[in-house]
Symmetry: C2
Subunit: 358 residues, 2 copies
Amino acid sequence: MITVTVDLKQRSYPIFIGSGLLNQPGLLDPYIEGRDVLVVTSESIAPLYLEPLQQMLGQSRHSVVVLPDGEHHKNLTTLNLIFDELVAQRFGRDCVLVALGGGVVGDMCGFAAASWQRGVDFIQVPTTLLAQVDSAVGGKTAVNHAGGKNLIGAFHQPLCVLADTDTLRTLPERELSAGLAEVVKYGLIKDAALFEWLESVAGKLINRDSPSLGHAIKRSCEIKAAVVAADEHERGQRTLLNMGHTFGHAIERCAGYGTVLHGEAVAAGSVMAATFSMRLGWISEADVERIKDLLVRLALPTQPPGMDAEEFYSAMSLDKKVAAGQIRLVLLRAIGDAELVTNYPGDQLLQLLREQLN
Amino acid sequence: MITVTVDLKQRSYPIFIGSGLLNQPGLLDPYIEGRDVLVVTSESIAPLYLEPLQQMLGQSRHSVVVLPDGEHHKNLTTLNLIFDELVAQRFGRDCVLVALGGGVVGDMCGFAAASWQRGVDFIQVPTTLLAQVDSAVGGKTAVNHAGGKNLIGAFHQPLCVLADTDTLRTLPERELSAGLAEVVKYGLIKDAALFEWLESVAGKLINRDSPSLGHAIKRSCEIKAAVVAADEHERGQRTLLNMGHTFGHAIERCAGYGTVLHGEAVAAGSVMAATFSMRLGWISEADVERIKDLLVRLALPTQPPGMDAEEFYSAMSLDKKVAAGQIRLVLLRAIGDAELVTNYPGDQLLQLLREQLN
C-alpha cells in the first residue's frame, strides 16, 4: 500500500492506494469508530463491492443508499435520496458518509456530506480509475444543473481516500480509457516525464497491467495533492487542472449528459485546447500529433462528435471558468507546461469551433 | 448609522444598522462595483423595497428572483429557482447575490450563494426584525427537509449586512413580536442587563419606538457577533444561541411549518427550557414567571399549541443539536447565563413534554 498525503494543515488527509485494500480490516477504523455510517453507492457498484466494504465497517451502525447509475441522475432530486435516508436513520452531526463508486457517486455523496446539517465528515472509496486519479481527491463536490455541469456544489475535503486498484479489474473498457484521459492531462499540464512514460506503457495500461496502473494513480494523486495543497479553492494554479475541461464540459452538455463519458470529453477537449495552443503559436503541430497519438493508443477520442458551433460556444460560456464574461482557457506552452489564458482573440476561438465540430 | 463588526479575520464584515439605509446611495458600491448582481426577494417584500434597493445598485448589471413567501417554500425545489435564474443570466463566479427580505429569503439566498459554482459572494438586506437581530448575521444558511428544519445548508458569511430599521414600520405585528423573541433569548443566555432593559421598554418596543428598536438590534448583533467570532462553526459556545430552539423547532415541525412563526416557537420553547431548568433546580419559579411575563407583554406565546408528546420527542431527536443519540438542551443557570446540557434525566424530559403539550 502506498500513501499519498494531501497537505491541508489540520485538514490534511491520506490517499491509500493499493491492491486488496477493500479486504483489509481495520483500515477505516480510525475514521468511523463509534460513529453512525451511511454508505452511498450505485446500482452497478453495490453488487460488486458493497459486501467487502460492509465487512470493513465492522460493528459500526450503518445504512446504505443505492443511487441510480449515470451522470443524468447527478442532480438535486437524486441528492435528496441521500438526505431522505439520513433523516430516516436520524443520523446526526457526528455521522460519517462513505462514497463507494465512481465520480458521480463521489461528487453527490460529498456534496450531501458538505450540506447535511451544514457539514459532516465523509470518506471516498473510488472504484473507477477516473475517480481514483482525479474526482475523489481534492474536495470538489457537486451536482449538475440542467444548464451545466457541477454548477451546484461545495469544497469539502474527505477524511481519507481509499483507492483499491483491484476494483479496476471489473471496470468496463471505455471507463478505463476515460480515467486514463485525466492521467494524460496531468502529464500535459505539469509533468512531461509522466507524458513520456505514458507513451512508453500505453499498451500495458490498456491491458490493465497492475504495476503500471498503480504508478499512474500514484503519480496523478501526487500531482493533484500538490496543486490542491497550494490552492484549495481554485483561485490560482488549481485552474490548470481544468485543461481540456471547458471544451470537455461543453461536449458533454451538447452531446447530452451520459452519451459521452467525462474522460472521453476531456480527451477530445484536450486536443481542442492543444490545437488552439498551436494556432496561437505556443506548441508545434508535432506536439499536437503526439497528444493525439497517445490518446488513440489509449482508445480515446481525439475529436468531439459533430455539433453546432454556436450552441457549443454558448455552453462554454456557462462554464464555471468564465470570469467577467470572458471564457478562460487553459492552454499549453509546451507538453508539461500549461497556462490560464483570457486575452486570446475571441474570433479565433469561434473559428476553431466551426472547424472542429463539423 | 451604527456599524457592528463580525470579526472573522480576513472574512470580517460590517453590519450597518440605521434608519434610511435603503435610500443611502453608494453604501453597497464597495461590494458590487463592476459585478453582476442577483437580487433574491419574496412576493411580499418586492413591492415594498425592491425599487429602492435597485436604485442602490446603480449601473451594476442585475437581475431579480421573487420567491413565494413562507417557511413551507424553504426547500430544494424553491432553491432551484435561484439557480435557474443564475443559469439564465449566465452569472459567473464573480457575481454577488443580495438577499432582500426576512429569514427565509436570507437563508435560501445564502445557501444558493454558498453552493453556486461552489461559492460566490452575497449580501444580506434583512427587512424583518428577526432577520436583523438573528438570521442575517453569522453565516448560517439552509433549507428545510420534510424531516426537519435547516437540515440542508452551509456556513457561508455575507460580505456585509444592511439592516434598515425603517423596514420595521411595515412589519406585521406578529412578526415584530417574533423578532423580539430572539432579543429576549440574547438576554436570557448572555446579558441579564439586556433582559432587564427589555422589561423596562416592552411597551415601547411593541409600539415600534424607533430608538428602542435600534438599541435592541444593536445589542443583539453585538452579542451574536461576539459569539460567532469565537465559534463560527458551532463547536462550542455558539450552541447557546439555540436556547429554546430545540423545543422550538419541534413545535414548528409538529404544528406544520408556517402555522407558528419561528420566533413564536422560540418564545414557547424558551419557556419550556426555563421550566426544565427550574425542574433541575437551576432557576427559581419566580425566574420562570419573569420570563413568561416579559413574553406576554411582547405579545408572544408562553406555551406551545396542544400536540402529541411522543411525536414531539421524536421531532426533537432529529434536531441538529443531537449528539451520539442524546438530545442536547441549552438550559438556564440564571437569567443571563446558559449552559449546554446532555446528562439530564431523560424521563424528566418526557414527563415535561406530556405536561406542557396538553
